[in-house]
Amino acid sequence: MQPEYKSKYNTHVIRIVLVLAVVAVVGVTVRSMVIPESFGKYGHYRADAIKDEVNRPIRNGTNAACLSCHPYIREMHLEGIHRTVSCEFCHGPVADHVKDGKVVAKLPKKQGEEIKTLCLRCHNKIIRARPKEAIKMISMPEHLEQKHVRTDHNCNQCHNVHSPMMWVLEARAIVGVEEESK
């Protein structure tokens, strides 16, 4: 005896198909609503992301930016051999110094051992990996001994860091001696 059923033989199948169809329609609708508007404008990405990247704040200026406000340093720096050295390498990024046209904080001036460390980042002869013709190399403390100064001297006691040979040349001019050549 076949019992009586409330639903038809295929009710559940029709319902499943309907549910799947509704899910698909809702999915497609939601998808079109939440995809960012500029997505796909130029390629498979959000076109406005380029703007976001362009608007990233600039934190490092250039030497020109720094020197525009520091005329005295400018005179020295551009005339010396260190004119290609970045101000911000030693002092930090200009964005930490100037904001909205105003000075917001002083940048650190390196002192003592810090200066020596900075100088030796470029001038240390014992690293050996450097191309010889590029820059002047020295090895410490031989350099100090050779120049007949105390071996606890810091680099900036003889060399102006902005124009390394300035004081040396001035001293030579005043004293009137040629440096002894090896």
Binding site: I58, N60, R128
Partner: protein, 266 residues
């Protein structure tokens, strides 16, 4: 390029300083725009006239001259400052290669070269035959694997050839990190998104050179428009130097070129 700007500034230095000290830059907007808070002269001519979403008429390449690099790490410092890169992650780094007379190759890059190289390697038993530094950064591939694998379209290549990251769509699945043959990508622990060197796209679009190029004291890093036949990069790429790219077998076609690249460099 730097020289041109410098000579221009020197020519009328007094007037320039006066203007700056006066607090207003009345000079042409082409030369000086407020970039953030700073007044910075344009370094890449013509960039500030550019409008529209992409750079027109220019094709930028990056050249690293490893015969010049002194391993000072200025570039790494500038990069870290520009992007406030969290410690332990590197948008750019400098490697030191030491080759002894038995052809053993020793490579290191302590803290990515960020602190410079202050000490010689002491663990090399044989006499050293050759040493050099190799700066690394995004290769800005023409066929970037990272863009290919990004599942959500968060890493993309602009029509002007820059590979960038959409910080608002990246899910940080790290697939791009795995796919990059050069290991220039990392997951930024602050933003929790993928991150990498962009050749300072934001600076370039505002007419400034990449931060690392600006600070290099020996011009080991060069950036310019290869469509411009007078540019330094055009001349380098069209002269008989040893110019090569990293891992050419990967087929990524990098736009980052190396002058004086050695076979030991990977």
């Amino acid at each position: 390029m730097m020289d041109a700007i410098q000579s221009e500034i020197s020519r009328d230095r007094r007037a320039f300083i006066k203007k700056v000290l006066g607090g207003t830059i009345a000079g042409s907007l082409l030369l000086v725009i407020p970039a953030g808070a700073m007044d910075v002269p344009e370094q890449i001519p013509g960039m500030r006239e550019q409008e529209g979403p992409f750079i027109k008429g220019k094709k930028f390449v990056f050249i690293v001259d490893i015969t010049r690099c002194i391993g000072c790490g200025s570039c790494c410092v500038a990069d870290k400052n520009e992007y406030q890169v969290p410690d332990g992650n590197y948008r750019t780094w400098v490697e030191r290669y030491v080759i002894d007379d038995h052809d053993n190759v020793y490579v290191d890059s302590p803290n990515g070269g960020l602190d410079g190289y202050q000490k010689p390697r002491t663990d090399i038993p044989h006499p050293v035959r050759d040493t050099f530094f190799v700066p690394k950064l995004c290769n800005m591939c023409e066929k970037p694997s990272c863009v290919q694998v990004c599942p959500v379209g968060a890493t993309y290549q602009t029509k002007d050839g820059f590979v960038l990251i959409d910080q608002k769509r990246c899910v940080a699945c790290s697939y791009c990190v795995q796919a990059c043959p050069y290991s220039v990508r990392f997951i930024n622990p602050k933003t929790k998104t993928a991150d990498k060197c962009t050749w300072c796209y934001h600076r370039v679009r505002k007419g400034l050179l990449p931060a690392c190029v600006n600070v290099c004291p020996v011009q080991a890093r060069k950036f310019g428009d290869v469509n411009d036949r007078n540019s330094e990069v055009y001349k380098i790429l069209h002269q008989p130097h040893v110019v090569s790219v990293l891992k050419p077998g990967m087929g990524n076609k990098p736009s980052l070129h190396y002058v004086g690249l050695r076979r030991e460099v990977v």
